[in-house]
């Protein structure tokens, strides 16, 4: 390739990156301006930074509680979904189970379903049906972890299926011939090979759970409310406080950004979907 051509893509991608980054930058700009300055002519350049919005958010006990809830729920859910998804995909890929393609399709259907459809039935089931004596799943972190499985578990199965199908069956057959137990085969042969796919699944399910809003807004009142619902509370009750709204948005954004940047190189490998087959 000629040398002059090398910089053309760079220019092109600088432009694309600008389009990607500018809205995020604008969010930051709004979050570090005092309310009075917002309504003068919007300016892209920051003259001085005003941290009060962030301090207000951090100083708010309720919002701190929401952050902890978000962390616990998304971590618990991601681990659960990845584990169960791995087991299910191993079963789907290695065993000759009757009707397994139908099972696969119907599992995915759970993710297709618009969550708005399930708001009312889930609310009623959680508050009234799924309870043992005093213990009820409504408005608990456990409840939300389980509810989030409805969209994250199908996703985990969807992304892990190609990974497990891609690991040659001959490998575990050879291990079985050598007399290894099923547990040994799964944990020592299949699991290490599936690790990149599992990592990506874990990250993505974590991010989806962290980002979820609709179900959290409807199914929790106080104990298990997450950061995203906190954001909407601020918008509805005090809609004009753009600075606080922007600051909460930034807080919601940061953990996802950090985790994502750490494992970014795995993402492409994990997103191959069905691409390699055929």
């Amino acid at each position: 390739m000629r040398n002059g051509n090398r910089w053309l893509p760079v220019l092109f991608w600088t432009l694309i990156s600008f389009l990607t980054l500018f809205p995020i930058y604008w969010l930051f700009v709004i979050s570090v301006k005092p309310a009075v300055e917002l309504f003068s002519t919007p300016s892209v350049i920051l003259t001085d930074i005003y941290w009060q919005n962030y301090l207000d958010v951090l100083g708010d006990r309720t919002l701190r509680g929401y952050m902890v809830n978000s962390l616990v729920i998304s971590t618990g859910n991601a681990v659960l979904c990845t584990l169960l998804g791995f087991m299910a995909c191993y079963a789907l890929s290695r065993f000759d189970l009757p009707g397994k393609e139908s099972i696969f399709f119907w599992t995915i259907t759970n993710r297709m379903a618009p969550p708005a459809v399930f708001l009312l039935p889930l609310f009623l089931l959680l508050t009234q049906v799924y309870r043992i004596g005093e213990f009820s799943l409504a408005d608990t972190r456990t409840g939300m972890i389980l509810v989030y499985c409805t969209f994250n578990l199908p996703f985990a199965i969807w992304t892990l299926r190609p990974t497990l199908d891609g690991i040659p069956k001959e490998l575990d057959e050879a291990a079985y011939v050598d007399g290894a137990s099923a547990w040994k085969v799964i944990s020592e042969v299949v699991f290490p090979l599936a690790r990149p796919g599992l990592a990506v699944t874990l990250i993505l399910t974590w991010v989806f759970a962290w980002n979820e809003y609709l179900l959290a807004a409807t199914l929790t009142n106080f104990n298990a409310r997450t950061l995203t619902t906190g954001l909407s509370e601020y918008v509805t009750t005090t809609g004009t406080e753009w600075g606080i709204m922007a600051a909460i948005s930034v807080f919601t954004l940061i953990p996802a950004l950090i985790i994502f940047s750490l494992v970014q190189r795995h993402i492409v490998a994990g997103l191959t979907f069905g691409a390699v087959k055929g």
């Binding site: 000759d96 009757p98 009707g99 397994k100 393609e101 139908s102 069905g274 087959k277």
Partner: protein, 66 residues
């Protein structure tokens, strides 16, 4: 994607299906036909049961021959 081992057989449908797929197709057609019937045919005075009868016949045909 490996095919379902449970009796996929060639029928008049353009794809390979097992009995469950064909049942699913029948239900989809039944619902679509019912909604269509509610909107356009019931106001003319034909009962919805006629639609259900048609769907049942269609479903039987699809499941047997599809």
């Amino acid at each position: 994607m490996s095919e379902d081992t449970k009796t996929p057989k060639p029928g008049f449908l353009p794809i390979e299906t097992n009995w469950f797929d064909r049942l699913f197709i029948s239900v989809v057609i039944w619902v679509a036909l019912s909604l269509f019937w509610f909107r356009f045919i019931e106001p003319l005075g034909l009962s919805i049961w006629i639609c259900c009868a048609i769907s049942a016949v269609l479903a039987a045909y699809i499941i047997r021959r599809g």
